[in-house]
């Protein structure tokens, strides 16, 4: 199981800014190790963020997203104290869900 995500969500003037830092190797599958073997691909393919069960952002990624990916987005309609849930799924089928309270 991967390490937890670090999520910060702040509401100001009706707009909530969510910043997520995920912990993931994000191997693109094109790199070679010291002995010349391809390092197998292992990266996050899907990220879904929800607020009160409603999708507020969906992202599809390739291996070109950096290691320990950072994601920031903004949405309207949330209040302080609400929860934002972020879930990622990688190409090996592993997934992780974390949540944060909007401040």
């Amino acid at each position: 199981m991967a390490d937890p995500m670090r999520i910060r969500a702040n509401e100001a003037g009706g707009v909530t800014t969510v910043r997520v830092l995920m912990s993931h190797p994000m191997e693109p599958g094109t790199r070679r190790d010291a002995s010349g073997n391809l390092v197998p691909a292992h990266y996050i393919t899907d990220v879904v963020a929800t607020h009160h069960g409603k999708e507020v952002l969906k992202a599809m990624w390739s291996g070109a997203v950096s290691q320990n990916p950072f994601l920031s987005f903004k949405f309207k309609g949330a209040a302080k104290g609400d929860k934002v849930v972020v879930k990622w799924t990688d190409n090996k089928g592993e997934s992780r869900t974390d949540e944060a309270t909007i401040a």
């Binding site: 790199r31 999708e55 969906k58 990624w61 950096s66 920031s72 987005f73 309207k76």
Partner: protein
């Protein structure tokens, strides 16, 4: 190994040809959006995304002029076009140019930021889809140290 690579390239080209011939329509290509990530050239990736976008000053791409470390380049996109529903980030000279796609539901602002890898100095594109039309913005980022490892 070499042969494998050839086969992969052939498949990619074949798919692109199918799209260009209109046998596989853009909509179908979009439905199987994952295919866009396998596109090996910018033209193919744009085709898989839905066509040639129009340049628009309402789309803003955030990418540094010079990136010292190609493994971690902060890239973002902001669209001021109403009803923006999708944002794509493409790195022209990466082996697979399409790096990330974002679906923006109503209520979410067309303003996303992440970090991408870049193998070399390249143009970075933000392509947005609003009301079914595509708009784009380009910025060149110089990379001092490539991020694809080797």
């Amino acid at each position: 190994m070499k042969q494998n690579r050839r086969a992969v390239l052939k498949t990619g080209t074949a798919l692109a040809t199918l799209v260009s011939l209109g046998i596989v329509t853009a909509e179908q290509a979009l439905a199987a959006n994952r295919d866009a990530f396998a596109a090996k050239s910018l033209a193919d990736a744009l085709k898989a995304v839905g066509g040639q976008p129009a340049t628009s000053d309402q789309v803003q791409i955030i990418s540094p002029d010079i990136a010292e470390n190609g493994a971690v380049v902060p890239v973002g996109a902001v669209s001021k076009i109403p009803n923006t529903s999708e944002i794509y980030l493409l790195v022209e000279k990466n082996p697979t140019p399409l790096a990330a796609a974002f679906m923006i539901p109503a209520g979410t602002e067309a303003d996303v930021q992440t970090r991408l890898k870049m193998g070399q100095s390249t143009n970075v594109l933000a392509v947005v889809k609003a009301d079914g039309k595509l708009y784009s913005a380009v910025k060149e980022t110089k990379v001092t140290l490539g991020g694809c490892g080797g």
